[in-house]
């Protein structure tokens, strides 16, 4: 598996997934990336990805409240059932979500951008700074599919009606 963080972000719609999934995608970079750009969500999930990577999800049973002492178990729902039940910790079923602001600031710092972020009414697209004395808007967009990226570009052009710089991971 290619452990590029950009590829990982393109592969996880919503940029929120369980630690085990991020770890598989990011490999050795997981701990660094988690500390730098991921944040814990306040909620837990009700299903856990199958360790066999077959695309199915195991159903989590048991109370997942922080104070609960009972074990958290995930059971296979396949017919026929192929996996043994998994015993999980609260941390393992707490999703980690991308912190866009931190990622934007890091990119801005790397490219020497002027600070300033801004949300757009365009999914997964955000201004992360500006460039030069003309304050050209620098935009980051992360799309999971090519046709979504193609849609974002004209939307940005119509919305901004001025030159802009666009950063977008493109898988390969």
């Amino acid at each position: 598996m290619n452990h590029s963080p950009w590829r990982s972000l393109e592969a996880i719609p919503g940029f929120s997934a369980l630690p085990a999934v991020w770890r598989r995608h990011l490999g050795d970079d997981f701990e660094f990336f988690r500390a730098a750009f991921l944040q814990k969500k306040a909620t837990t999930v009700r299903s856990f990805p199958c360790p066999r990577n077959c695309g199915c999800a195991h159903c989590i049973i048991g109370e997942a409240a922080p104070a609960s002492q009972s074990p958290i178990t995930a059971i296979c729902r396949c017919e026929p059932c192929l996996c043994a039940p998994l015993t999980l910790t609260l941390a393992e079923i707490t999703p980690l979500r991308l912190n866009w602001a931190k990622l934007g600031r890091a990119i801005g710092k790397a490219f020497g951008l002027d600070a300033g972020d801004n949300d757009f009414p365009i999914p997964n697209t955000r201004q992360i700074g500006s460039w030069s004395s003309e304050a050209v808007a620098v935009i980051l967009t992360i799309q999971t599919e090519r046709h979504l990226l193609r849609r974002v570009i004209p939307e940005l052009a119509l919305l901004l009606q001025r030159p802009f710089i666009l950063f977008a991971p493109t898988s390969s």
């Binding site: 919503g14 997934a17 979500r97 046709h147």
Partner: protein
């Protein structure tokens, strides 16, 4: 959707192989090319299930009489096989040269293959091996 007779898991000539759907993503329509596959005149993808391991364990199932044809008819507006996500299952309709009716084949990696009437199983297996759907362990 009904499949008359099933083989589960992949048996016969593919018992030692790992099944994958990645040729659909890598080769697109070429993965369904029946040229050089004697006994098969046409292979059509009619269903694909894709799963993402995001927080919500998102799954989409795309069905059409011809998934690649449908995407092409819309001018290539979207990728018929998403570029990300796990290809969980696909259903194909295969037109065999000796059969009047198309036959349904369901492939679910890494080891499940459901085929209709048994006599054509060898042809299906040859297609899967030739186009990279069945890999050596």
């Amino acid at each position: 959707m009904k499949i008359n007779s099933t083989k589960l898991p992949a048996a016969g000539g593919l018992a030692q192989n790992r099944l994958t759907l990645e040729p659909l993503r890598a080769d697109g329509l070429d993965a369904l090319d029946s040229e050089g596959l004697e006994g098969i005149s046409q292979i059509t993808l009619v269903e694909i299930e894709v799963a993402w391991e995001n927080e919500f364990q998102e799954v989409i199932v795309r069905k059409a009489a011809d998934i690649f044809g449908c995407a092409a008819a819309e001018g290539g507006l979207y990728d018929p096989i998403p570029k990300s996500g796990c290809l969980v299952q696909a259903v194909f309709l295969i037109q065999f040269a000796e059969s009047a009716e198309r036959q349904m084949v369901q492939l679910r990696p890494p080891g499940t293959l459901k085929i209709g009437p048994y006599p054509n199983a060898g042809l299906v297996e040859r297609w899967l091996l030739t186009r990279g759907f069945a890999l050596a362990h």
